[in-house]
């Protein structure tokens, strides 16, 4: 199966190395997850005071965290609404532009991906204050969209590169209007990417901290709320949030692998 370019000894060393690396990645997460079930008031695994689910109940009654969750979803939906049309438009233009002007526009449109998140948050905060919008959910949407739209655009660009343009041209030759071609050929071709881009945008927005913390002002999302809790003292409630995140990610990853395998068998 695999190309055996190494000697057996070298392969062993490499495998041990990878094993240690994966262990390094997972051990801290395991420690964090385990502490969610410890009835001790302070998140710990070394001082075990018995198994409990009471921190899950505490989370369910935590109004600020629940409101943060709602805010996070609102912001993420806003980001999808802004960044999918923006990313799609950018990609449609770039596929039709010449080499030179294309490269210029391309550099501007991908630059937010390469900019530190705090810079995006700060510049949006300053810009929107001029229009009387103080930091809050709206500014957070705008700040996050500036770079998430770039990710969406890259996804659309990749898809458009595989597009068979003769199809559109044939439809136009046969007398279809541009709008009809766009609606019946281009959009259906891009629909799967729209879905992927929306999922990516949602996850990126939901997770984002460094940009949001500057743009959010006096409001909060789930992630900024967790961060401000962590600064004042540790509580196992945060571990419960962690457990839920880990579990959801594992389920998603396993589903993905299973779904990916299916067509082959």
């Amino acid at each position: 199966m695999s190309t055996a370019t190494e000697s057996a000894g070298a392969r062993l060393v490499l495998n041990i190395y990878i094993g240690l690396f994966v262990l390094y990645l997972f051990l801290p997460l395991a420690v964090m997850s385990a502490a969610a079930f410890n009835s001790f008031d302070y998140p710990s695994v070394t001082q075990w005071h018995g198994f409990t689910l009471k921190w899950f109940v505490a989370l369910a009654h935590d109004q600020r965290l629940l409101q943060g969750l709602v805010n996070s979803v609102l912001v993420a939906l806003g980001v999808i609404a802004v960044s999918i049309p923006a990313g799609l438009s950018g990609a449609l233009i770039l596929t039709r532009l010449g080499e030179r002007s294309g490269t210029m526009l391309y550099s501007v449109l991908v630059s937010p991906v390469l900019t530190p998140g705090i810079i995006l948050g700060i510049s949006s905060l300053i810009f929107w204050r001029e229009f009387g919008m103080p930091g809050g959910l709206f500014v957070a949407v705008m700040a996050q969209s500036s770079f998430i739209a770039s990710y969406a655009m890259l996804l659309f660009l990749a898809r458009l590169q595989r597009q068979d343009r003769t199809l559109e041209e044939a439809a136009l030759d046969l007398g279809a209007s541009h709008l009809l071609v766009f609606r019946r050929i281009t959009l259906p071709f891009l629909a799967p990417t729209c879905f992927t881009a929306a999922v990516v945008a949602f996850l990126q927005s939901f997770e984002n901290y460094n940009t949001t913390v500057f743009a959010i002002g006096g409001e909060w999302t789930l992630v900024t709320e967790i961060a401000s809790r962590l600064r004042f003292g540790l509580s196992p409630v945060i571990n419960v949030v962690g457990v839920i995140f880990v579990a959801l990610t594992l389920v998603a990853a396993i589903t993905y692998v299973v779904l990916k395998k299916k067509p082959k068998t």
Partner: protein
Amino acid sequence: MGSLARAYGRPLASVIAGIAVAWVLVLILVPLGAMVEQSLWWRESKGDISLTIDRLYNDISLIELDREAETDPAKKAAFDQSLADKQAEIATLEAQETNPPKTYGLANFTRMSGLHFYIFVRTIFYALLVTALALVVCYPVAYVVALASGPRKAVILMVALIVPYAINELLRVYAWLMILDYRGVINGVLQWMGFIDLDAREWIPFLENPSAVFLAMIYTYVLFMVFPMVNTLETLDRNQIEAARDLGASTFRIHRRVIIPHAKPGIAVGCIMTFMLSAGSYSVPAIMTRGQGGDWFSQLVYRQFYESNNWNMGSAYAVSLLVVCTAFILLMMRLFGVGLRDIAK
């Protein structure tokens, strides 16, 4: 624009162009310009303005006394005139006091204190160190995932890497906070082994050491180095390695002459992402130090905005950070001979 109209028709093309222009202007360029503009001016608040105003009020009281005592109408008019002058002067000064005039210049950049400049340099240095270390740690990982494992093992390894990558960075930092805290895992184990006594507060204060931030940062951003490298290495034809081996090249030589040259774009992207994320990270230092350890530059920026309320200074700090990151990107692109198009793949 012409080709766009030809491809999508005039109405649709103008909608598409309109959205894209709005994105470029409203979300990217103008906010950036606003930040740069903000960093280039400040309001001159002279402390002596209030003193001058106080002195003028004193003068006015004295003149009023003199005016009361005066009987000659000509002289009285003269007093009235000087009273009006002084009051007008007070009005302009008070306006300046409450709303000092904008002054443009580079002072926000040059006024950075020695300590803040030291933190700035230290942040850049640590970010470079994180990047270099991540590169060394990740190269073998990317190599094994992309080239040295069968399809089944590669899928399992990818999942093992994606799961921690997909978990929120705050929670990853938090896991390390739990490990290194005063009553954290390491101190707990040390107590269990009998080396320290937590109840006597004999813990080892890992969190007060800057390397705690460094450790958590590597953990948080190391995977941003792995995936770009895996992506480029996967496109390498394994037969090339076979051929090199058959022709008698050593393992070291194969890596140096075949694999690493092919991985160049991935290495460049990995380095750029890791450097950019760690130099601009606010989450890791804010959570790990909790005010006990050394500051990271992003924390200074945050405080300028939300504690000192000095947006001009804060913008100048942010622009400085942006300049360094841009310089790093350009350097990497030149060093590895890759263009922006390769990067964004």
